[in-house]
């Protein structure tokens, strides 16, 4: 059941997004992709809040879980890491969530979104899920967080085992895992999988990937049209609405806005001076600050090869479950965060540096994601082959006690100075 506490927390989240959507609509005379984004988030959390009242199963799931399957079965998904990130970003509640995580014995070295996820469950800040779904995609923190969530929410769960490599044997194995998951969900929800609906979602995922690629192409323009905040929204579209009409609606809106800006020769910043490649995600709580700083210095992130650049390939709606499995190998984040980095990923980084006319790269070395940080040296050396310097900033994407605004400013100023001086 939804507790009174969680209801009030989720209501605050919903009201915040509605307010942001209204403010944005007023500022942008009728609305922009940001307006739509906030409205979609408000709708998402309204569905989460109302799931039990509407007699629907509420499934809490970790990042990169194939929620197309849930949507196809009319199960309401609740993205645990995104909920923690968004609380951190919009409600400034990260300290309370992380403190609660610490009370549960989670050390500061553990990934902060997962410490926050534990905190959010322990505080009953979200509705109690009926089931917990988790996988090893995209890290060991993800793989190990499920049992704790099950214990804290007293809910049953299912672990989806994702293989590292994309061989035919491993693809078959993953499809088998997905079939087991479908059986688990059918048992728990009392509903049968709607395969036609899943096929529709797979077809829409192709459209979604196409839009991601189109947006990527538009960002090659000089000046480049997309801001740091857009970047975060771009990521959440697939994290929260994979294969859903909402993702298509948002991405189409964003694509059209960017196309208009490119046609008018408008950039994300007033005077573009530094075109940056972003490797890993900047601290969420510094997004607004980074926007100001980038405007001040004329810096713009033009490409994120490890986060927004989808791998080559398409999905086949005639084989929906196989396509869901295949999608997990196309997602951009897989390059650096799961399994070997691979030659192709390094070649993609070189190609991006050249095609996007990158002046410098920033590797936001997220402390809780140390396995990813093992790629820093290789990526830095790869970029040096095409004369692109890379700045590494040790940081945390959620915990604000690691970096101050001033420290980040000082490092970025030094880096911009170096780029200017070359």
């Amino acid at each position: 059941m939804t507790t009174a506490e969680s209801r009030s927390e989720i209501d605050i989240l919903i009201r915040t997004y509605r307010l942001l959507a209204r403010m944005n609509r007023a500022q942008n005379k009728g609305g922009s992709s940001h307006t739509l984004y906030f409205q979609l988030l408000a709708d998402y959390y309204t569905r989460v809040r109302n799931a039990h009242e509407e007699g629907k199963l509420l499934a809490a799931h970790t990042v990169f879980f194939p929620t197309e399957v849930l949507y196809a079965m009319d199960i309401v998904p609740m993205h645990t890491e995104m909920t923690t990130w968004l609380s951190a970003l919009f409600l400034r509640e990260q300290a309370g969530l992380l403190a609660k995580g610490a009370e549960l014995g989670l050390a500061p070295e553990i990934c902060s979104p997962h410490r926050g996820v534990a905190g959010i469950f322990a505080l009953n800040a979200i509705p109690r899920p009926d089931i917990i779904l988790w996988s090893n995609l995209i890290c060991d923190n993800t793989a190990k967080s499920g049992e704790l969530m099950m214990e804290l929410s007293d809910s049953p769960g299912f672990f989806l085992d994702n293989p590292f490599q994309n061989s035919s044997g491993e693809m078959d194995y993953l499809v088998g895992e997905l079939e087991d998951m479908v059986h688990f969900l059918e048992e728990r929800s009392g509903r049968k999988m709607d395969w036609d609906r899943l096929s529709e979602m797979v077809a829409r995922t192709n459209d979604e990937i196409d839009l991601y690629r189109e947006i990527g192409e538009l960002r090659k323009a000089v000046p480049s049209p997309m801001s740091v905040m857009d970047d975060l929204e771009l990521l959440s579209a697939d994290y929260m609405f994979p294969g859903q009409p909402e993702a298509i609606q948002y991405l189409t809106h964003l694509r059209d806005e960017l196309k208009g800006m490119v046609q008018e020769g408008k950039g994300a910043v007033t005077n573009e001076r530094f075109r940056l490649m972003t490797l890993f995600i900047p601290p969420m709580y510094l997004m607004s600050y980074l926007e100001q700083l980038f405007e001040e210095y004329g810096a713009v992130s033009v490409v994120e090869p490890l986060f927004t650049l989808w791998s080559e390939g398409w999905l086949d709606p005639a084989h929906p479950l196989e396509s869901v499995a295949k999608k997990s190998f196309l997602i951009p984040e897989r390059r650096s965060m799961y399994g070997p980095l691979g030659e192709q990923a390094l070649q993609d980084i070189i190609d991006c540096a050249e095609q996007y006319k990158v002046d410098g790269a920033i590797y936001w070395a997220f402390m809780g994601c140390r396995h990813t940080c093992a790629t820093i040296k290789v990526i830095k050396e790869t970029l040096s082959e095409v004369d692109v310097p890379m700045l590494t900033i040790d940081c945390d994407i959620v915990d604000p006690t690691i970096n101050s605004e001033e420290e980040v400013r000082e490092k970025l100023e030094q880096f911009f100075e170096m780029l200017e001086d070359r």
Partner: protein, 263 residues
């Protein structure tokens, strides 16, 4: 053309007046409670030594305190200034290790003296000049005596380098051991813990000869000796390692004036 560079560190303020022949006035003054007063005193001393008036000189400020003074509108980061200063003093240098009071910075520069990469250690006092001062107090020895004794060490006591506070406890434990660890070995251990931090930064950017050392801690022969042992070759050491960033700032001031730019 004469220009002025000023480096406002966390312990000292350094100023250099530069003309075509080289530095013609320098000063190193401790940072007092009033930053503005200390800066004025340092500038006054350097310009008086050069026989010039402050009003007539283009100035660039650098260092952690550069933003605290409003009367120097042109500022440049410490890394850029170090690169310029080192290039001026040692054109063959491709790397510099700046061992300051509160932070250690390793920079890499190209043949034009332009910065190409850097790494710094600013999360903990261990590995900095202030840490060495604290250790000297703990050992009851002046810094130069510590440096001298370290050259007589037969071994290096194990001192970890993850935290300045824990390192202090370890040193106390070595002093009070029965029998106590020889002073020379403790000091060598302290220096090695600092150097091992520096070495990891050097490796991060890639060790490239020649390597120069700058900053107040570069005056410590014992520390530099262990650094050279770890690098496996001799480093270049300026006569006044503390003023290199201020010298670089004066060079940047000259470049800016020549370009007629304001920033």
């Amino acid at each position: 053309m004469q220009t002025l560079g000023i480096d406002i560190g966390s312990l000292n303020i350094k100023a250099v007046v530069l003309d075509e022949e080289g530095p013609i006035g320098t000063s190193i003054m401790p940072l007092g409670d009033e930053v503005g007063d200390s800066v004025h005193a340092a500038l006054e001393k350097a310009t008086t030594e050069a026989g010039l008036s402050l009003d007539s000189l283009p100035v660039v400020a650098t260092g952690v305190g550069a933003k605290t003074i409003s009367f120097v509108p042109q500022q440049k980061s410490i890394t850029t200034c170090l690169a310029r200063g080192i290039q001026y003093l040692f054109p063959s240098a491709r790397m510099a290790i700046d061992m300051g009071a509160e932070s250690t910075t390793v920079i890499k520069l190209n043949e034009r003296g332009r910065l190409t990469d850097w790494a710094n250690h600013d999360k903990c006092a261990s590995g900095t000049g202030l840490f060495l001062q604290q250790m000297a107090k703990l050992m009851g020895l002046p810094l130069d005596e510590m440096a001298r004794l370290s050259l007589q060490a037969r071994a290096r006591a194990d001192i970890t380098n993850t935290c300045a506070v824990f390192a202090e406890s370890e040193v106390i434990s070595h002093v009070h051991r029965d029998p106590p660890t020889p002073k020379e070995d403790i000091i060598a251990g302290i220096y090695y813990s600092v150097v091992s931090r520096i070495m990891s930064m050097c490796k991060r950017v890639g060790i490239t000869r020649e390597v120069a050392v700058t900053g107040g801690a570069a005056l410590n022969d014992g520390l530099v000796n262990i650094l050279e042992q770890e690098l496996g070759f001799e480093v270049l050491k300026p006569a006044s390692p503390q003023i290199v960033a201020a010298l670089g700032a004066a060079i940047v001031a000259r470049e800016n004036s020549e370009k007629g730019t304001k920033k």
